[in-house]
């Protein structure tokens, strides 16, 4: 199952690794870590958001282990990619490595391209593709769209986004 957790750690070297160790010790797979240095809590500690893949039966063991090692779990919950959005890309999509464009979203861990339709009218003509993306939250969707915007700019692709109202 996929779980998202917000952990509280001290803002000193080594503490992030120490906080993540129990996850791999319990056989969990870390999909993404969002670590914001500027985001200090009132107590002067840092909060780190992680999304992990872990067998369901090991979850309570992981929570106990984190507690034993003094890592405070501020929030945790089962994560599924509820947020869905489609964008249309126009350009030389295949020649600019379509696989890489998709990977850039999938490798985030918090968003993935779940469907793609592509229309290629002729060789050497620009093709048009619709990507349907799922993400674990609105904020993560915005981040995924930002990445795709950046990739599109670099690959000279026109990206058409939905009107967000």
């Amino acid at each position: 199952m996929q779980v998202s957790m917000k952990l509280e750690i001290r803002d000193t070297p080594g503490h992030l690794v120490a906080a993540l160790m129990p996850i791999s010790d319990m056989g969990g797979n870390i999909k993404t870590v969002i670590h914001e240095h500027d985001n200090l809590t009132e107590k002067g500690s840092l909060s780190v958001e992680v999304v992990i893949e872990i067998p369901k039966e090991r979850l309570s063991g992981l929570l106990s282990l984190l507690q034993e090692r003094g890592i405070n779990v501020i929030r945790f919950g089962e994560e599924s990619m509820h947020y869905q959005q489609s964008v249309i890309l126009i350009g030389h999509l295949v020649h600019t490595n379509l696989g890489d464009t998709i990977d850039r979203i999938d490798e985030t861990g918090y968003a993935e391209v779940i469907r793609m339709s592509i229309s290629m009218p002729a060789i050497n003509e620009r093709s048009s593709a619709k990507f349907t993306i799922k993400a674990i939250s609105h904020e993560h969707m915005d981040k995924a769209i930002d990445i795709l915007r950046d990739v599109s700019r670099k690959k000279d692709i026109l990206m058409i986004e939905p009107l967000v109202f």
Partner: protein, 337 residues
């Protein structure tokens, strides 16, 4: 301050006799609005008559000779010398320099006269400066016709939404692009076919770059932003993407999810969004207007969401906005000497 009695005729000088100017003249001659024309000029000629120019004769002369007056009388002279209460500046937009219109407007304000304009150049480039000058002189500067043709959006923003905080604005502000996108969606035309059709119907200029690359919509967004938020936004602050690289396949892909593509201008200051771009929009969304229509949604804290739509261009539709400004100035400033 320039005041006049309600029984007196309001004196207007008109600069520009293109589609908008002729629309204004035709309304002035067909409706008895208590307005007389004391000066008129196009790029090559002009005339001044303190007693009032006969508009049917003027339109006849323009049609037959291409001139609205005497070639020895320039627009500058009309602006500087004609006796008028309101200068109506409707010459073509120069989006880069804003001239010569900005100079005419400055001069009229300096004379203590009100100004009504449909010219986007001066308002997009020099709004703050011109507004300050108008305020110092105690006169009005109105520019309803610069944005969204017949829709009284500026009037709404300046006069009717007092006390509201406008949180966001979304708009279809370019009729040419909306026409092209409507035809691509409804008839399956390619971008080029739809553009050619728009040209043959007079919806697009011979050089459509200014419209299809989003510049025109972006300039209107600048005007709206400065009217609402007075933040001094400039054209270079707007992120602009046009519709010239759209494919018909992209529209088909949008249709698979009951959506289509429209060129939308967006301002959401809290998210730092200032952009014009083609966006995927549900087919049933209010902003999915058809043909050359324009539409605007304002999101406000008190009034909630407000939606406006109407014709974004056209001689009489734009004249409606100009005449509305003239009448509203008369109502506000009439009071006798």
């Amino acid at each position: 301050m320039n005041l006049w009695c309600s029984e007196m005729n309001l004196r207007v000088a008109l600069i520009g006799t293109g589609a908008v100017g002729r629309g204004v003249l035709s309304v002035l001659s067909s409706k008895n609005l208590g307005i007389i024309l004391t000066g008129v000029a196009d790029s090559r000629s002009g005339q001044i008559n303190p007693d009032g120019i006969r508009i049917p004769d003027l339109l006849h002369q323009k049609e037959n000779t291409g001139l609205c007056g005497d070639p020895s009388i320039s627009a500058d002279r009309v602006v500087n010398e004609a006796p008028y209460d309101i200068l109506v500046e409707v010459s073509p937009t120069d989006a880069e320099s804003g001239e010569p219109a900005t100079g005419y407007i400055r001069k009229a304000l300096d004379r203590g006269c009100h100004v009504v304009t449909s010219n986007k150049g001066p308002i997009a480039l020099k709004y703050h400066e011109l507004e300050c000058q108008a305020r110092e002189r105690g006169v009005a500067l109105r520019f309803e016709a610069t944005v969204a043709g017949a829709i009284p959006i500026i009037h709404m923003l300046q006069d009717s939404l007092g006390g509201n905080e406008v949180q966001a604005l979304y708009g279809v502000l370019n009729g040419t692009c909306n026409y092209i996108l409507t035809r691509m969606a409804e008839e399956g035309l390619s971008y080029k076919q739809a553009l050619d059709e728009a040209r043959s119907l007079g919806y697009a200029e011979t050089d459509p770059t200014y419209d299809v690359r989003g510049t025109d919509a972006a300039i209107k967004l600048v005007i709206l932003a400065n009217t609402i938020w007075k933040t001094g936004i400039r054209l270079r602050d707007i992120h602009v993407t046009g519709i010239d690289l759209l494919t018909e396949e992209a529209i088909r892909l949008a249709e698979e999810q009951d959506a289509t593509i429209r060129l939308i201008g967006e301002i959401v200051p809290s998210k730092n969004i200032y952009r014009v771009s083609p966006l995927i929009i549900p087919r049933v969304h209010p902003l999915t207007v058809k043909g050359s229509l324009n539409a605007v949604i304002l999101r406000t804290d008190l009034a909630g969401d407000l939606f406006f739509s109407g014709k974004g261009a056209g001689s009489l539709e734009t004249a409606s906005a100009v005449i509305g400004d003239i009448i509203s100035i008369r109502e506000r400033y009439a009071g006798g000497y």
